[in-house]
Symmetry: C5
Subunit: 399 residues, 5 copies
Amino acid sequence: MGETQQKETADALADTLRSGRGEEAGMSPGTDSQPEATPAPVPRLRRPPPGTPAGIEYHELIRAPGVQPARVTCTDYCPERVEMQEVSDPAAFLAAHRPDWSKVRWIHVEGLQDHATIRALAEKYQLHPLAIEDTLDGQQRPKADDYQATESVPGRLFVVARRIRATESGTQAEQVAFFLGRNTLLSFQASPCPVMEEVRRRIASPRSRLRQNDVSFLLYALIDTMVDRFFPILEEISERLEDVEETVLLNPDREDLQTVHRIKRDLLLLRRVAWPMRELVSQLQREPHECLSTVTQTYFRDVYDHCVQVIDLIETYRDIASAVADTYVSLVANRTNDIMKVLTIIGTIFIPLTFIAGVYGMNMYIPENHWPYSYAVFWIVCVFVAGFMLRRFRRGGWL
Amino acid sequence: MGETQQKETADALADTLRSGRGEEAGMSPGTDSQPEATPAPVPRLRRPPPGTPAGIEYHELIRAPGVQPARVTCTDYCPERVEMQEVSDPAAFLAAHRPDWSKVRWIHVEGLQDHATIRALAEKYQLHPLAIEDTLDGQQRPKADDYQATESVPGRLFVVARRIRATESGTQAEQVAFFLGRNTLLSFQASPCPVMEEVRRRIASPRSRLRQNDVSFLLYALIDTMVDRFFPILEEISERLEDVEETVLLNPDREDLQTVHRIKRDLLLLRRVAWPMRELVSQLQREPHECLSTVTQTYFRDVYDHCVQVIDLIETYRDIASAVADTYVSLVANRTNDIMKVLTIIGTIFIPLTFIAGVYGMNMYIPENHWPYSYAVFWIVCVFVAGFMLRRFRRGGWL
Amino acid sequence: MGETQQKETADALADTLRSGRGEEAGMSPGTDSQPEATPAPVPRLRRPPPGTPAGIEYHELIRAPGVQPARVTCTDYCPERVEMQEVSDPAAFLAAHRPDWSKVRWIHVEGLQDHATIRALAEKYQLHPLAIEDTLDGQQRPKADDYQATESVPGRLFVVARRIRATESGTQAEQVAFFLGRNTLLSFQASPCPVMEEVRRRIASPRSRLRQNDVSFLLYALIDTMVDRFFPILEEISERLEDVEETVLLNPDREDLQTVHRIKRDLLLLRRVAWPMRELVSQLQREPHECLSTVTQTYFRDVYDHCVQVIDLIETYRDIASAVADTYVSLVANRTNDIMKVLTIIGTIFIPLTFIAGVYGMNMYIPENHWPYSYAVFWIVCVFVAGFMLRRFRRGGWL
Amino acid sequence: MGETQQKETADALADTLRSGRGEEAGMSPGTDSQPEATPAPVPRLRRPPPGTPAGIEYHELIRAPGVQPARVTCTDYCPERVEMQEVSDPAAFLAAHRPDWSKVRWIHVEGLQDHATIRALAEKYQLHPLAIEDTLDGQQRPKADDYQATESVPGRLFVVARRIRATESGTQAEQVAFFLGRNTLLSFQASPCPVMEEVRRRIASPRSRLRQNDVSFLLYALIDTMVDRFFPILEEISERLEDVEETVLLNPDREDLQTVHRIKRDLLLLRRVAWPMRELVSQLQREPHECLSTVTQTYFRDVYDHCVQVIDLIETYRDIASAVADTYVSLVANRTNDIMKVLTIIGTIFIPLTFIAGVYGMNMYIPENHWPYSYAVFWIVCVFVAGFMLRRFRRGGWL
Amino acid sequence: MGETQQKETADALADTLRSGRGEEAGMSPGTDSQPEATPAPVPRLRRPPPGTPAGIEYHELIRAPGVQPARVTCTDYCPERVEMQEVSDPAAFLAAHRPDWSKVRWIHVEGLQDHATIRALAEKYQLHPLAIEDTLDGQQRPKADDYQATESVPGRLFVVARRIRATESGTQAEQVAFFLGRNTLLSFQASPCPVMEEVRRRIASPRSRLRQNDVSFLLYALIDTMVDRFFPILEEISERLEDVEETVLLNPDREDLQTVHRIKRDLLLLRRVAWPMRELVSQLQREPHECLSTVTQTYFRDVYDHCVQVIDLIETYRDIASAVADTYVSLVANRTNDIMKVLTIIGTIFIPLTFIAGVYGMNMYIPENHWPYSYAVFWIVCVFVAGFMLRRFRRGGWL
């Protein structure tokens, strides 16, 4: 009988230990909470070995065998008319003249492995080797470089932007490179992206403002769409932040801390993209350029406002995330201290009582042991001591 | 007898545990302290899906069925005369000429759902699609955009300001949009607001400075009133801060930490509104514009001073709130340590005594057990050991 | 006998508890350390309700009944002559012409409740309504506003400065407003202030540089005296800081933390006054103005140096105060840990010994209990175990 | 029998203590983990004693006896031709005319101890004493000093750059000094460096862009290669950072903290080099100079982008490293608290039970001791108390 | 026998307590570690009481009785000739004409108490009262004030610099004031200083660059020497920093924390001097002034580089010192936690065992007490429980 109960106590104890160990083991490889513990990867830049000359010359652009050809789409439009075509043979396409009615030509390339196509475009539009390198690199910070007109080459604005994308493995930023001429826009991208489709759909609509305006307005529309991508991602982060804030205030546990850290890491990534995007748009909005119309710059002012809002939100979320982390630490410390306090109080009450019991267990001659009511008196004393302690603790505000 | 007392001890113990649990449970759903634990909501921006074209064209402004018509108020005044009217039929009103004596016309629109009215105004005053979008958005940062005059459209200043309002569920910031022309001011707002009433009352008074001045002075008066709204809210925050500082220094408990966090969150919101308001007013005060008179700019300098004072107070309160949070953490740590210290001291004194009692409880032959006064000696030793320990602790400054 | 000793132990214990509670109670209302716990009040601005028009028009300046008349002092001087008078009837005084020999006229007003006097001055010198409002407000940040000359009103410089004053209830900053004309200086102040007396004494001395210079030099002298007020207050703070730093390093206790916090709060206030004073003086020193002579600007450069020194000291003291607070926290943590360590060591040594004693108190058949020297062996084992533990602890560097 | 088991317990205990001590000893000299504990050396500047005149005059450049002669390499090239030679007799070499076809002459000196050679070059090219001193110093911050042309000396640009190098004992930064003339580049370096070889190889290739351009493009190529050196080092740091972040989240131990500190120290060093490199390149890219061609400045824009990326990565890594350190501290605190909690729970459960057992060990008359089933009842009570405590703890969320 | 051992235990215990108290007492007055605990004094400015007029007029410069006369040294030189003399009678000396061959006259005054001498110089060279006051003050921040030429007084540059000096009681900064004219330099200093001797020695050498250049080059040489004084002091700080970093990583103790704090305080002082020195040199290098030659400004560029290096080192050392302090705190927390952990483990193992022993010490009828092998079984159970706990702890990674 005593044994089954003993077993029960032992089980409960073992549970305690197990849960303790389990919690600890939860931090070691092979347990379920593992996937959560994986941090966002540390951002890196992979670059050619030092000593490689900068810039990619046309002759270096050779299509590696087995590389899938890039998908090239050409869109010509003017207020009255629009024509979109998939270009299968870039060389032939570039050799042909553009239709007279076309006010704006937009050539969009998807896939940066197909160097032959890129070379054809680069030669036709005389792109600068440094700009080609940046286009193929895929890891540039958003920026706008002005390649001024020389006698042989017309002036161009080379713009690198980054599009934020929420993937399964976290938020990612993908580069899009633009070459803006007077009535041509080239855009280069590594993988398909819905932004382009959306803008193409808007071009297709004859009432669209895009159709009424020049090529720089097209660049504006694309960058505007890319900046707008931040908002749903920030929305999602704000929800995670609200959730974790609520959990922390109600019932803080260790996973919350990791969630906050993941949110902070995500915000760090967004920030690394948003700040240079803001600088880029600020430059496009502010500095006059032969390829940018006044109307476009007015509209870029609107994009700039969005960038400022994005950064404002990011910084606010960072502040809130830090505040949540601080609160977590204080609350957990408070809670552990509360636990320790109660436990220590229990222990402390019994320690003097145990001493008294020990005294009357001594084998020397103790007069009290021979009194008639000593056992009852003993219990009275115990209750009195314990009560005294409890009252002291309660008065002292320790309970 | 012993049992009732035993019960008392057990009750006290249970109380202890309960109060411990209660404190803990106070953090879980369903308890009274719940409403306090709810944090301020994380600020968000809700925006149209990416790819939506920016700007709202006139033809997109269609009154949704079932939407309540906006309340439009028109105020005309000159130094000698003033006339206010509620406009029930905007189209007819806008078709009519404005009276010759009217130096300043102020059209105020309350309710942004009624797109038909807004379209009528937008067409009459040729408002820019981007400005219309910002007006309807309601979540813009305070800013001033200059839409310069073209041959067909006169120049306009588009100003977005935010009004701080203390509501039951916390401080909120509401957007007001202004279109300032040479002698017309349009203002748009989502919901009724006392600011407008106050300014209208001042216009009604013939001795008012407002009546003597031009339309930009009206804009100044409105923005001034909006900035002044910060002061009572800051006053209220300063009271909460003083209260919590006092409580923390007297008797820090966990709710104080949450109060400080809520104050910090409120200040974060105020700051997000105050800084761009300051930039806005700074721009209005500093940069000459065809629609802003010199007198108005002198008065905007006064509003600018108020903005600087507001920000100065916000930053000071943030510093104080941080200092209070730091003090809280130090004081709670100190207090818990004090409790642990006293408890551990009690425990430590009895541990050696319990050991001694244990020794004389051993069943082997112990000579002392057979001495005549051993029991008295035992107690003398106990008191001596305890006294020695206590003196040591007191000398060491641990008590 | 045992009982008296028992009582002694109990008393010591009660003392311990009392002192523990006392320390805790020291933080609750009604104890002596209370006055120290009161924090500096949170700075506030009391402003008219939102919607009140800015600026105070002349007709609004009406002397409230029962208000004490302001004390107006007029000082006229030129290098050769000086005349000071208390003005009892401002209206008559202002109607009279100023003496021809007077190069500089300084009218100083003490008491801002007497609106009639202020109205008389405002009308005579055509003061701007906004400047009048700032003058009466008493809570302006230091600043210099230029009211440029118009055809009817000569140009004026309106300067608001703040004077630091150490009062019983902490450091306070009082506003002084100046209107600087070409040869007249008006100064307004709420309460009497020794700064004015000092400067008046210097004017009285014929060899004083003040007498040789124009009215802007008088403004310089007043502001210089106000900036110099910072130094004795900083001196006093540096002494408190040195004291608390010494105490913290010798014997950190909880009051030190509160002292450091009070010093930080005082520095926060000084900083709020010193930074705008520096901006003000920087502007006066740098920007040419028709009312400021070159000589005066050279002397303002000297005041600017003092402002920079003041701010340098404030920032240095803030750094030191933070360092002291950090050291306090580390030292207290160290000390508590040391206490806990020693106590736990004592406990730990006796726990195994108590176990051993418990073993030989078991009522089963234990062979050792029947050996002849078992008691002596028991003590040898105890001493050996305790010695072994102590040596281990000492080697491990834990003692 | 009992003794062997006792020994086993004692061994386990000793192990515990030893491992505790071992951990501690791991921090003292002579243990394996030592080499890891050595921090990166504190950066220092060794400079001549104060009072030494600045600048090194030609006559002070005397070859110390026993110093190895410097390795001087001269490369002449034009688009069509290239010639490289090791110069063994600098004096003779400098006396000879340079070939007519040479568009660019690059003289590279390795070894700064051979003052005779440096003197020969300094006299030939009339280098400024301050620039010579900086060249020999080896500890200058990256910078570009313009020594403007005078009637006798043509203008020169003196550029100091630093090359990052990963060595066994940590990352090191080595100085390279350049004197850029109109068609001559002198470069000085203390020790051999692969950067130079790489660029020389590129010059050898006739299709290289280097051969087509002027001498400033050569400077660009060298600095570009030096900036590119940052990337593999940052790559390696990012790997260490990812490793330590993973370890910290899985199984934080004390060495991780030291690893993070080493990474922070390395980043501190990189940052000290990268920021002035960025300023240097920014200046070279932005400010026109007679010795810098437009093409070169376009290419320096590319290097500038790399510098910005480098700094962006460094700052991001610093943020991540700080976050990892914070997480480490929170996790270790959490873990220790968990351990203490479980241990204290175990202790607390047994303390009341021990008290009960002590009660029934008292030698007074205790009725229960004479009941028939008291032993079974005792165990039932024990199990009940332990179970009650465990359930309480579990409900309170403490398990 | 038992008693001697008891005494040994008691002694060890007393030692423990004593060492604990000793450590504590080490923090109270009168112990050896005292001198180390004294913090660097809080920096102060002692200034005349507020209201004292700024500037010191010539007539205020009266030699106080009993003041030692200042040591005045005059150095005249041109490229060909140099003459140095100690001036015993300043009045006579100033009345005499300066030799025609003298291109540069440098009058150096040591001792600022001798106002008669200073008055003589001030009258001769018409020094401005504000500059005289700053010269005598001795606590000015480094700065350069331009006193422009008027019809009667030629333009002068008034420069205040500070020299860093390592004294027994810590680093000190001493003021040197310079008046730079077209071919005269006055320098004023409170106490003798080796800087001047060093420069005088360099002037004595005919090949020195100093001799070839004008008076502003002399100013450069003096300031350069003063800036160079920073390097040995920084060198010494870097050594202390390296030492303390090593100690902290090997064996952190409380004194390390104080050492780090002292280093931080020293760096704070250096920083307060270095930043304005940098601003001063930057101004001298950048802004053209009639008294500064182009050559001198080129050389000031070199001093500016040194200032930037000094500040770079100071900031780097501050970062390292903060990192060391952080590491200290984490390591000490870790160590204390380790100690507490091991101790608690020991306690926890014995608590259940003590309970079991207590059970079998109860005086009720316990069947096990009558079994034959119960004692052996008891020990087996004990060893098993202890072993089980230890294995659990080890598996859970707690050992």
